[in-house]
Amino acid sequence: MSESFCFTSVGHHDNPVFEMEFSLAGEAESDDDCHHLNQFIAHAALNLMDDDMWLSANTDLKTAGKFKEWFLSAFVATGHVIFIMLRDIRQEDGIKNFFTDVYDLYIKFTIIWYLYSY
């Protein structure tokens, strides 16, 4: 069974800003057909986020749960940016740490962008 991950960062217009797919070392790359499938799922899952986001005080939306037999985790960053992680195995803690790291980077880049833009 392959362990693959699909990370998508969604901007505040609900548009994908960054997408990346990766599988654990040693695993074969997922085939091309999967790419659009992941996006379809991520896109449809946004509706779940919309609901959960306002119900939870946490940025880490654990309730995103499962969607279409994928494990789905989401993280709400500043500026209504959402990080979505689709994966086919359960790995809550690892994903949580991953999101925290990504958020760190995101904040740094945002600040740098502001500094150089204004």
Binding site: N15, P16, I89
Partner: protein
């Protein structure tokens, strides 16, 4: 019963979690051998059983250690479900069920349990429906409707599973299931076992539904459509449009399989719209691919070609796929259509993108008949080179009223930086619809209490909420198949047979300008047979102007101003406009009298093109006759400029001696007026009008040239006793230096009895810019001098910088008149110290002796009203006045008086006065002024004493030196006003007339008297002048 259910639920949950953890650990390689027991192949998939409080069957299986993973999970969940329903938490059941189904599927994969294909789908489908029916059984409709959010997941999961079962069992294919499919169906149904007794009587039990759905193609379709529609409806009702779109897309896929593309299209369009709106590139590509197929089946040629072009330019597709879609367009284009005139109009942006546009000439202004080229850069989106039959730009023509824009002057002044217009690159995919939303208009709001003005509420109001919170579906469609209207204009720029390579291509359009006006580029179309790719609007707008210009002649001096008297260069510019100058065309200049046009051996003219590029350099023939100068123009094409220079010479004419000059002419030598400064340094000017006949017009052009006289001349009369001198001052007002020579003063009227003896250097004199040169002549006469003398001053001049001039220059002349220049009276003043002392002292009275001596016998100038004839001789009345402007002297007693002066040579009148020096030092003598004392014109009856008039303060002084009667004299005389008005008290009054400066010579001017301080003075005041 307190807490019993909760506690039991906790126990079950813990058991559940513990088991899950074991499974995860087992998957990770942690050996828990007892779990292999659950890894037996799945043989039964009859779903969850929730209608009994305890599933005894499963319990027994567990007890007997025969339960599979699904059995154990089913049993645990049925217990949890029962407890949750006891606890009135049905929605949690739905939520947990979804989670359970997902994790069971995952766990079976993880544990690598062998499951026949479709078995899990059956299990999930049955379980979903079982849960939903169980919940429906304990809730009313209203509750269910308001909690769709909890159940919709199960609905769509069931739909999905049914779909995959349908595909698996060949129920979706056009031909229906084959034998292999049927075998598989039988196997799957066998795994369901027999229906349980508790649902046997239920018409719509999950078991019956599944069995029915798998029994025939039609039944499957019915059930699948029911479920799909229900799921879409539920998703939509709770605002999960994206999920609804996804279900819809599956449905579209189903319809496509069932060869019903017309039903599929609406779902695909809906999904595509949603992806486009949010810019999800891969879903867009995938959906478009499906849509293309759908449109192809539907025979929507236009839409299909548009979708194909979009897909051919889509970089998310493989090269082969893109080429395939591109080929679709090309093969359609090359096909012969039945109706030849039929055009398929598609938007250009999916085929190629316009990047930039460049005009040559870069300012996009061209004259009638001129050639304009337009270069565009088009970025072809196609994966292969495409031969385009024609690329055309539709141009809108408008006659502009404001003709100024289109003149040559405008052309040269308004040069754009580079003439390149850049078109924004479409950043696709990008969420377009949100971008078009207006900006949020937020305002602060404060509501204060009316009684004490304290803040009641505060908040933020969004004023354009109605714009922002509009339903997105209602906004206009993003990908309209064809809303492009093809304009049919008379003006089209065309380019035929262009092969567009993938990537940027440069295309050049050339056109010859015809009618003057403004041409706006409107549409860009590329045509491939019947397929027209059209860019409906070019934005930013690009336009070019065509102008027509009348021929024009301009004459302007090369320098800031033209100087009279010396050759000056004047530039002639002929702007040919629409007129073509032929050989033999000439400009006829009618000569002005006082202006010469100097013809040189060779004049050269330069012809420039409209863009100021030098075209040629030719010689110019200038012929001059008495009245007309003819300039033969070189042949020049239309819209060119001919430039040449000619030298003109304005003859220097002396400005007629005006009032200013004549006044200066009588200026008394001792008066230092600043009027010369005030007169300024502006040169006198003369205008010459030249009428020019141009070959292109029957009317003459009149051109005025203004020449400035470089010099300003003033004269003055100087006296030394009876000897007279005339001084002429020539001031150079120009910026040039000149050489003055042969200064001459002549008296054209008189003969030998008057002689003007020059006292000037004979050599030429240099006069620098803004400097003056003085010339002096002594006036000598042998007989009685005339009362006035007309003089003509002339001086040759040439610019100092230039060497030999080609033509002799006329001298500069200046005429003036000198009047009353003969000295009649000599005034001499003398101050004597008090008797017995050697020097005057401050504070002590001294005597002032004034002697006025007549120097000539009766002359013509004496014949005026004041002249009286007595027995033997003539006499005239004079008034003297002692004035000390510098307040050195105090005049004691009478300072003025009227005397009767005999008109005879050497007649002398002496006046004695007392003055007191106020300061010590060498003091200048007080001024003695002499006036002619004229009786009143009409009445001589009231012969009043002059002194009494003075005391009456009503003396009328007919003089223009009144301003000199200042406070100094007033102190010494009491009160004397310079009143020019004779209306005082209505009395007839005598008049005083200042004697012309030439007639009075003050021989004591410049004399000084030594005054020593008085002995008592402790303070020594010394005035040094």
């Amino acid at each position: 019963m307190l807490q019993q259910f909760e506690d039991a639920l906790v126990q079950y949950d813990e058991l559940d979690a513990l088991f899950s953890q074991y499974v995860v650990n087992f998957g990770a390689g942690d050996g828990a051998n007892w779990l292999t027991f659950f890894c037996q192949p799945v043989k039964s998939w009859n779903g969850l059983i929730l209608r009994k409080p305890i599933d005894m069957e499963k319990r027994e299986l567990i007890q007997r250690q025969e339960a599979t993973l699904l059995d154990l999970r089913s049993y645990l969940f049925s217990r949890q479900c029962t407890l949750l329903l006891f606890l009135q938490r049905p929605w949690e059941v739905a939520q947990r069920a979804l989670e359970l189904l997902h994790s069971c599927v995952q766990e079976l994969k993880l544990l690598e349990v062998s499951v026949p294909p479709g078995a899990l789908d059956c299990w999930v489908f049955l379980s979903c429906l079982e849960v939903l029916q169980r919940i429906e059984g304990c809730c009313d409709r209203a509750q269910i409707d308001s909690n769709i959010a909890h159940t919709v997941g199960l609905w769509s999961y069931a739909t999905e599973k049914l779909k995959s079962l349908g595909y698996l069992c060949g129920l979706v294919s056009e031909k229906g299931p084959n034998s292999e499919d049927l075998n598989r169906t039988v196997d799957l149904l066998a795994g369901l076992g027999a229906e349980r007794p508790e649902t046997a009587n239920t018409a719509q039990s999950p078991y019956k539904k599944l069995k029915e759905a798998l029994s025939s193609v039609e039944a499957f379709e019915k059930h699948y459509l029911d479920l799909s529609h229900a799921a879409i409806e539920m998703h939509t009702s709770i605002g999960r449009t994206r999920s609804a779109r996804l279900v819809g897309k599956d449905l579209a896929e189903f319809y496509m399989r069932k060869k019903s593309p017309q039903k599929a299209e609406i779902y695909l369009q809906g999904a595509l719209k949603s992806y486009l709106a949010e810019g999800w590139a891969l879903p867009i590509t995938h959906t478009r691919k499906q849509l293309a197929e759908c449109q192809k089946h539907l025979g929507q040629t236009e839409n299909y070609l548009q979708t194909s072009s979009l897909l051919a330019s889509d970089h998310h597709l493989t090269e082969e796929e893109r080429k395939r879609f591109c080929q679709e367009i090309l093969s359609f284009a090359s096909r012969q259509t039945d109706s030849p005139g039929h055009k398929i109009v598609l938007p250009l942006h999916c085929f190629a993108q316009l990047r930039d546009l460049h005009f040559t000439p870069s300012n996009a202004v061209v004259h009638v008949g001129g050639v304009l080229s337009v270069d565009i850069t088009m970025c072809s989106q196609m994966p292969v080179p495409v031969r385009v039959e024609q690329i055309a730009i539709n141009v809108h023509f408008s006659i502009e009223k404001n003709n100024y824009r289109k003149t040559a002057e405008w052309l040269t002044k308004h040069k754009t930086s580079n003439g390149i217009i850049n078109f924004p690159v479409e950043t696709s995919p990008f969420p377009t619809s949100q971008n078009n939303l207006p900006a949020l208009e937020l305002y602060e709001m404060f509501e204060r209490s009316p009684s004490d003005n304290s803040l009641n509420t505060t908040g933020i109001i969004c004023k354009n909420v109605h714009m922002l919170l509009r339903r997105q579906e209602s906004s206009t469609s993003l990908e309209t198949p064809s809303g492009v209207a093809l304009e049919d204009g008379a003006h089209v720029l065309k380019c035929r047979d262009v092969t567009l390579e993938p990537g940027p291509n440069r295309i050049t359009f050339r056109t010859q300008a015809k009618e003057p006006g403004t041409y706006t580029l409107r549409q860009l179309c590329a045509s491939l047979g019947p397929v027209w790719f059209v860019l409906p609007h070019l934005y930013p707008p690009a336009q070019y102007d065509v102008y027509s210009q009348e021929p024009q002649l301009r004459v302007e001096p090369l320098a800031d101003s033209l100087l009279a008297g010396i050759p000056q260069k004047v530039k002639f510019t002929v702007t040919t406009g629409h007129y073509t100058v032929k050989n033999g065309d000439s400009l006829q200049l009618s000569n002005a009298e006082a202006m010469l046009i100097l013809c040189h051996a060779e004049n050269r003219a330069v012809i420039y093109s409209n863009t100021r590029e030098k075209a040629s350099d030719v010689s110019l023939r200038v012929q001059s006759s008495d009245k007309v100068t003819s300039i033969s123009l070189p042949a020049a094409p239309a819209y060119h400029m001919i430039e040449f220079e000619l030298e003109v010479l304005s003859l220097p004419s002396a400005p007629v001696t005006g009032g200013e000059s004549s006044m200066l002419g009588v200026t008394e030598p001792h008066r230092k007026h600043k009027d010369t400064q005030k007169a300024g340094h502006c040169m006198a000017t003369t205008d010459h009008k030249v009428s020019i006949d141009c070959p292109w017009s029957i009317y003459s052009t009149v051109i005025a040239l203004t020449f400035s006289v470089p010099f300003r001349t003033t004269h003055s009369l100087l006296s030394a006793g009876t000897r007279k001198y005339i001084q002429v001052c020539v001031q150079n007002l120009s910026e040039l230096d000149f050489q003055l020579s042969d200064g001459n003063l002549a008296d054209p009227g008189r003969g030998a009895d008057l002689q003007l003896v020059p006292l000037n250097a004979k050599s030429p004199q240099h006069i620098s810019s803004k400097q003056s040169v003085f010339f002096v002549w002594e006036l000598k006469w042998t007989r009685e001098p005339p009362p006035s003398l007309r003089c003509q001053f002339s001086v040759g001049f040439s610019p100092a910088s230039e060497g030999q001039l080609s033509i002799p220059l006329k001298p500069y002349t200046y005429e003036f008149q000198v009047e009353n220049f003969f000295t009649l009276y000599n005034v001499r003043a003398e101050i004597l110290p008090p008797a017995g002392t050697e020097h005057c002292r401050t504070g002590s009275l001294c005597s002032l002796e004034v002697s006025i001596t007549r120097l000539s016998d009766l002359l013509d100038v004496d014949k005026d009203e004041a002249l009286t004839e007595s027995d033997e001789y003539f006499s005239t009345k004079l008034m003297y006045e002692v004035v000390d402007n510098s307040s050195n002297w105090a005049v004691c007693g009478k300072s003025s008086g009227v005397i009767s002066m005999p008109v005879a040579a050497q007649a002398t009148h002496r006046v004695h006065m007392e003055v007191m020096p106020l300061f010590a030092g060498y003091l200048p003598l007080p001024d003695v002024r002499l006036f002619k004392y004229l009786p009143h014109h009409s009445a001589h009856s009231s012969q009043l004493d002059a002194d009494s008039w003075i005391e009456n303060d009503s003396l009328s002084v007919d003089q223009h030196v009144g301003d000199q009667l200042d406070s100094g004299s007033i102190r010494s005389r009491g009160s004397v006003h310079s009143a020019s008005s004779s209306e005082h008290k209505g009395l007839p009054m005598p008049r005083l007339q200042a004697l012309p400066p030439g007639q009075v010579f003050n021989s004591s001017t410049g004399m000084q008297v030594l005054v020593i301080p008085s002995r008592d003075d402790h303070v020594l005041e010394v005035s040094v002048t």
